[in-house]
Amino acid sequence: MTQAGSAPKVCASTREALAGVVHDGMSVMSGGFGLCGIPDGLIEALRDSGVRDLTVISNNAGVDGHGLGLLLLTHQIRKMVSSYVGQNREFERQYLAGEVEIEFNPQGTLAERIRAGGAGIYGFYTRTGAGTVVAEGKETRVVGGETYVLETGLVADLALVKAWKGDTEGNLVYRKTARNFNPVMATAARVTVAEVEQLVEVGEIEPDRVHTPGIFVQRIVQSSRGDKPIEHRTVRKRSDALVT
């Protein structure tokens, strides 16, 4: 029986989890949607590693002082590949000042580019973005009267993902909408590091319940973060049957 901590994939700290796999100018995928399902601890460790000129592939750019917002404050990001970067004043300031680049990808195209990259598929044709600036400079093809745009698969040097539960083999289970981009990103990097809320022994996750099989995960670390931030806390009163 393998003990947690003795398996080769298990790292003792987020710092150890990034040791030897980060370098200036590298590309990093970072899971999450808004602040939901983001690898906070690994992002902090990436900041503390001091690497610079990063190309970060992530649906959002964090918010001021949270998530990838931390790496913006320290100017470690050269370029973002994202679908939406609102709610981040520092990003806006840096972009308008020419300090950071942005490549906007439609959200579904971004997800599919990562899925394709991880699956060894060069590219795919999609209707998304046809007739818009997204299609500029890209090959297009008309099939059955519809215009399709060629989008290419994306891979990265490193993927940082967040899961709810993971075992020492790297099998991962996500929770609710914190799943989002994490499973596809786990497949699409040379090295994938998973930060998990609960690190368990093999056998504690039912094989039928595994979302990301361990083959996609090279390193796994117990999250040191107890808190999970909420971007917009919306609630209803007990007497209120409506959504808003």
Binding site: V85, F104, G108, K176, T244
Partner: protein, 229 residues
């Protein structure tokens, strides 16, 4: 008298049909969830990875792992399911979602939509909007008839960068509703807000649209604020 945001949402809710899978955008479209008739089965899709979106949680029951595409805390229902972003957009791009309702900055008379950026000013990004308009069978846009300063938003051509070309099927503004039979057809005025005239609607937009077909009443149907729901 222009329709309020709630009345626009109520009007859009009349386009829902039982059995529909629907994606509601941020802003006025989100309000539509409040006007789904209780006897109608509509499943709300949230592109961050959930089908069967429930209402906001009771105070103290918020879950950081359970949010909608607007990053608001929500709840699950017995019918709910969760999935990855790739699966979510397979639903959207693959034509499995029946209806998408989005906000707009500009709509053109040819059904083009612009709602994601203002060059040099606003750099937020398109999120899932481009995938939604490209993949969902029926697309409704809900927006104010004119922008700040009275600038028309329903135009001959969009000046802002497009979200999608020829993608809008129904346009609901605070003054009127415009519909078209298919993506080849021109928009036709089908409803007016109370005490609003066709001439007023025309003078506040640069788009060409057809007058109501003969015999069709344009009665200024105000959705009942109390509503049947």
């Amino acid at each position: 008298m222009p329709w309020s945001r709630e009345q626009m949402a109520q009007r859009a809710a009349r386009e829902l049909r039982s059995g529909y899978y629907v994606n509601l955008g941020i802003g006025i479209p989100t309000l539509i969830a409040n006007y789904i008739p209780t006897d109608m089965k509509v499943v709300l899709q949230s592109e961050n990875g959930m089908l069967g979106m429930g209402p906001f949680p009771y105070e103290g029951e918020e879950d950081a792992d359970l949010i909608n595409a607007g990053k608001q805390t929500i709840t699950e229902l017995p019918i709910s399911s969760y999935f990855s972003s790739a699966d979510s957009f397979a639903m959207i791009r693959g034509g499995h979602v029946n209806l998408a309702v989005l906000g707009g900055m500009e709509v053109s008379e040819r059904g083009d939509l612009a709602n994601w950026m203002v060059p040099g000013k606003m750099i937020k990004g398109m999120g899932g909007a481009m995938d939604l308009v490209a993949g969902v069978k029926r697309v409704i846009v809900v927006m104010e008839h004119v922008g700040r300063g009275g600038a028309p938003k329903f135009k001959a051509r969009c000046e802002l960068p497009l979200t999608g070309a020829n993608v809008v099927d129904l346009l609901i503004t605070d003054l009127a509703v415009f519909s078209r039979a298919d993506r080849e057809a021109a928009f036709e005025l089908i409803e007016l807000a109370p005490d609003v005239t066709e001439a007023q609607v025309r003078s506040h937009c640069s788009a060409q649209f057809r007058s109501p077909a003969a015999g069709l009443p344009v009665a200024g149907v105000a959705p009942d604020p109390a509503g049947p729901w």
